[in-house]
């Protein structure tokens, strides 16, 4: 199947999927926190565009509300909060040296292949476009986890956490044209509360270990040593 044969909406969705996937890779290799937050906001913006596009071409009004929620939460509020935290901790000049950057990037690429492999059975019942969209969402989730594993700063963990949410959101928009409104509001509420809680946590971690390096949180063990 050639991409020119698809209608405009499907082509646009595929490009968006590619861009969202790309931003995830950009975040994965990013050592500077402020840039990481900027790319995260960019990913949120791409999601907003996708949602608005879906709302426009499917003519479903409740998706406009989701788009607005995404814009406010993921593009403005959460990046603003994280940025403020970075500036307050004076970490904006630090470059986090990533161990095994090459291995992490290769791992990211294999996770993408893995996502396609896992979701391949879906092709039998739906289109190739759907497979692409769902596989990219799944890989955005997995890349978010990899981001959390490979970075040590609590801020990077929050970005990873929220980018997992982004992957989920992308899947919900593209595959099912958005979840029912009550569910979507509920999820947005949870994300908001989670973001506020993260803010509170930064304060607590800072006062207890005087840093946001989560490698220093290492007092509890599975079995006592």
């Amino acid at each position: 199947m050639n991409i020119e044969q698809l209608d405009f909406y499907t082509q646009a969705i595929l490009s968006m999927a590619a861009l969202v996937g790309l931003t995830s890779f950009l975040m994965l290799g990013q050592g500077r926190l402020l840039r990481l937050i900027f790319v995260f906001a960019l990913q949120g913006f791409l999601l907003t565009l996708t949602t608005a596009l879906a709302a426009y071409s499917l003519n479903s009004h409740h998706l406009y509300i989701s788009a607005a929620l995404t814009l406010v939460l993921k593009v403005i509020f959460i990046p603003w909060m994280l940025r403020r935290e970075v500036l307050k901790m004076n970490m904006h000049r630090d470059i986090e040296a990533l161990k095994n950057n090459t291995v992490v990037m290769l791992g990211g690429a294999s996770l993408m292949v893995f996502s396609y492999y896992v979701l391949h059975p879906i092709v039998q019942s739906s289109s190739v476009v759907m497979l692409n969209a769902l596989a990219v969402s799944l890989s955005v989730m997995l890349l978010g986890m990899l981001l959390m594993i490979s970075h040590r700063q609590a801020i990077a963990h929050v970005v990873g956490f929220m980018s997992i949410e982004n992957g989920l959101f992308f899947a919900a928009i593209v595959a099912t044209n958005g979840m029912p409104m009550v569910v979507e509001l509920g999820v947005a509420f949870d994300v908001l509360v989670a973001a506020v809680l993260f803010g509170i946590f930064f304060l607590h971690i800072r006062t207890s270990i005087d840093s946001l390096d989560v490698d220093l949180l290492n007092k509890l063990h599975e079995v006592d040593k």
Partner: protein, 487 residues
Amino acid sequence: MIAAYLVLLIPLVGILYFALAGHKTDTGKLNVRFNGICLLATIWLAINVLNQGTIISTGKAFLIDPFNVYLIVLTAFVGFTTSIFSSPYMAHEKEIGKLSDGRLKLYYSMFQGFMLAMYLVLTTNNMGIMWVAMEGATLATVLLVSLYRTPESIEAAWKYFILCGVGIAQALFGTILLYYAAVQIGDGENALLWSVLYENADKLNPEILEIAFVFLLIGYGTKIGLVPLHNWLPDAHSEGPTPMSAVLSGLLLNDALYAVVRNKMLVDGATDSNMAGYLMMGFGMLSFLVAAILLHRQKDIKRLFSYSSIEHMGLMTFAFGIGGPLATFAALLHMTVHSLTKSAIFVTVGHAAQLAGTQRIDQIRGLIKTQPRIGWGLLIGTIAIAGFPPFGVFTSEFLVLLATMHSYPWLAPLLLLGIGIAFAGLFRHIQPMVYGDRPEGQNPVTANLWPVTIHLALVLWLGLAIPGFLAHWFSQATLLISGSTPL
């Protein structure tokens, strides 16, 4: 149906009220009253279900059937008795200067918030809302884990937040896939309603549902505490205030398992293979054995019992995985008796730790000589949880064993081995704690041990004879989950 709305409304009022006035001296008693009224409302709801059968609210937003109604009553009951225990416990914590007014407000408000999330998980008919409520339960309890603000408790809370948050994101992906399968056959707004999905389960695409179930099991399995996703559980249990450990162990784990079983019912309807069952059996057995072994290596009394919770949750997951009527009946019974026994144990553990001034097992000594009721409570509770007759845990574990011997005889030795290892692991730690001489300077504390007595009496009762209405519910629920009745 009014009863169901009332069950959700009371904790909602509680959150707001305690957030404003949670620091006053009589708050603990007021919290007991809130939970007491809620318990009455759930009993009213239960009587309705007993008379009319399954209730679906107008608009189909809520569904009360025999499977969730007994869990709702159990949730309210454990919430009520835990609040009785928490009242003097928190007063003591405030007296010794571990907590300030603001933290008490937070504690009582979030206690109600957690109860609300639990009721919502159980009553909702919408699989999406179920996820939202499950995440809500994490969010409500995460600040309670770090209530004491020690470096350890902050670490535990951060771990709990990140692991459960990431874990439960998988469950949302599973729910999205479920919705994706559902919109292919039905209308959009109602497509996530469990009752609608269940009616049309045979039309759902089996390939998509199998993939979805893997994500759902991993997601909710993180909350159940299945190995290897259990890492947060001992930390969160040991560092938070003890009443929180009691409700986390007694309620949260149960409700996460409930969510998995609801989803399994849909997957079983859509596919012919027993894929979901095998996955649950595998994860369940692994958790059961690993936790039983890890019991031996614990040095902290609350970590000890949280590993015991993982072990029992593993056993229940395993039993639901076997899936026959007998195993399902046993798993339902085990959910009840485990949650009653474990919350009773955490109550005594909390007081034991207050007596000794530490949670370290090697420093807690001579409990029976210091305060006999706490010592005996802990000992009898441990006997019950280890699966001795005549307590209810024995009955349910025996039924699981019977079902295993019937369906998968080669797994029965593993099961027996695990029960043996766990028993040894518990008693090598408990024996020196309860017996022996009283250390110098160890004085009795004010404690309300009625919850322990009532819980253990109920577990004993369930071990001797299951009351008619409960047996009726269990067999109705078994019929719903496994397709036939055990009796």
